[in-house]
Symmetry: none
Subunit: 350 residues, 2 copies
């Protein structure tokens, strides 16, 4: 079932049976290598997670490593959920937005958009992004982007992305402490706060928003903020596929845009694990926006599974990523039921 966070439920109803393009934004920030900050991948190889997610989602194979990315606690990547949905009710197109990764995904035929971006440094040392340029890249790309289906689902794979999102929105003056989620069940607040504190120290005397973000953000957040402004201007139905990280994209877009953003054709779809998470507050983040948009989540969980690795999701580990929540909403919009999705995911773990 699909549940509302904010917005107009007719937005969802209109999308029933429509075709979707899934664009996966992949990017690496060296922030992810700070010990204990994220569990989105294999320790020491977390920078590979976006590459592996792109490979697995499109081809069901991991080609830049020998096995699928699993956290130290054994939580498999949410790419499994997205892939299962794609098998059951395929997306019209899957495209990759390469926003700077260390290792390019080894896939053929699929469209990979390149923007000349490389992975970014840890926000502790100043990320070293040309934020104005990256924002304009995203805006201009949206202006010329040819959507080959009825709507666009924009997902991401960026390990430690909630840390950079929280830091970026704090830098822009939003009061969002305690509202961002973590891939951990027990969020490593002390490490996270320490990293953010140290990053914000670097921008203490800076006034320009773009300059601030150049030091404390990541390419995915800034590029997609620009993309959202361009897409909403054109009225392209665009779904941000994710939780608080994607709320971060919207908050950045709202702050940086010269244009008033019209949220009528904008959505944000996420998982139950994220939307009902007691340690974060997605709804509050969305309510800080100067425009209204349509945010929904799927109530899918692993109650029909006995698999211990999947049960970890229900216990609050992982929660979201690779557009898993939007994929589950998309599945619902196309009549694919919970049982089928559960069984398909279980096959990957056999």
């Amino acid at each position: 079932m699909i549940k509302k966070i904010v917005g107009n439920s007719d937005f969802i109803e209109y999308l029933r049976g429509k075709s979707a393009t899934f664009a996966l934004s992949i990017s690496t920030t060296k922030t992810c290598e700070i010990d204990g900050l994220t569990q989105a991948g294999i320790p020491g190889l977390i920078h590979l997670t976006p590459t592996l997610d792109a490979e697995f989602f499109t081809t069901q194979e991991v080609r830049s490593l020998t096995d699928i990315a699993t956290t130290p606690k054994g939580v498999p990547t949410p790419a499994l959920i997205s892939r299962a949905v794609h098998l059951l009710n395929p997306f019209r197109e899957i495209e990759i937005f390469d926003l700077g990764v260390e290792v390019k995904p080894k896939i053929d035929y699929f469209k990979i958009y390149e923007f000349g971006l490389s992975y970014t440094k840890s926000i502790k040392e100043g990320a070293g992004i040309d934020a104005k340029k990256v924002f304009e890249l995203g805006f201009n790309f949206a202006t010329n982007y040819e959507l080959k289906s009825d709507y666009l689902i924009l997902g991401e794979s960026v390990p430690s992305g909630t840390t950079t999102a929280l830091c970026s929105t704090l830098a822009l003056g939003y009061d969002c402490k305690g509202k961002f989620s973590s891939s951990y069940k027990d969020s490593p607040e002390s490490i996270k706060n320490q990293v953010i504190k140290s990053a914000l120290k670097n921008i203490e005397n800076i006034e320009d928003d773009f300059f601030k973000l150049s030091l404390v953000s990541d390419n995915m957040l800034i590029f997609n903020a620009g993309f959202v402004v361009g897409a909403s201007k054109r009225g392209i139905k665009t779904i941000l596929a994710g939780g608080t990280q994607m709320a971060g994209v919207l908050l950045i877009a709202d702050k940086l845009s010269n244009l008033k953003i019209d949220g009528k054709n904008l959505g944000l779809f996420t998982t139950k694990w994220l939307a009902e998470d007691e340690n974060s507050d997605l709804k509050a983040l969305l309510q800080m926006l100067s425009f209204e948009l349509n945010a929904f989540y799927s109530d899918f969980d692993f109650s029909l599974s006995e698999h211990p690795a999947l049960k970890l999701y229900d216990e609050g580990e992982a929660k979201e990523g690779v557009g898993a929540g939007a994929c589950l909403v998309y599945a619902d919009l196309n009549g694919v039921d919970k049982y089928k999705i559960t069984k398909k995911i279980e096959v990957f773990l056999q």
Copy 2:
């Protein structure tokens, strides 16, 4: 599940969720009237099989006869498989390429492309085709062909087509004896060899490839060979839907083309019965090509059915035709499972 014969598995992954046009090439060669050569139809009425297949595939009715074409052993036409898939996940378009049949299919609304071709004589007496003209017809048609979906599935219904395919490739100098399949479980080798021997005798002193094919081939093989050359030149994603007969189309195209064929956007999809057949060798035929292409098969079989007529497929009768294998791959690419297909086919036989 989809299994690889040769090529790049990303080709398959890219096609997930994409829309397809199915073009059925129908053609009659009087070779099919040689007693005991083919079981693709009703004895005495085998020339009607392409007409009936076109009617049944598009409308679920046989209009030029009272019942669906069944072999003397009771094997129903593979058009049942193609039709079932079309009902479960319809093709965007079904079109007919009329490459010379005795009786036109009685169908309305569907696009039937006419090329002024009539059925051809038995290869024993010299088929009497203007091969150069037919090849160019196919090439020119592909050059102007307007594809209304993402990719094209090109199937065929030509009784005794494996005999003419084997004879054509032998005539062009390919070492392909024993590599072509038969609609029979126990292939009628002696009759087939006798026919081919007698046909090849007619071209003993001919050097020109087109002239050779004019005597020993059929319209479907030559037209589609030209079509493949034109389609690959334009980069139209084209799937040859069939087994060794369609490998024959490719071998002819490879030999006759002035252009180097690029196989990146070419596929060949077939059934498990054909790909795993021990009496033929599709893979070896494809490896004779000077270019690489993407060949896959569906592992669908009738293990979920108790119907004796369908069980004959699993025992090695029939195997392929009317693009059945490509339809099964297409079903997989669109999330339609084996159980659903089996049950849908069984309904036709009630």
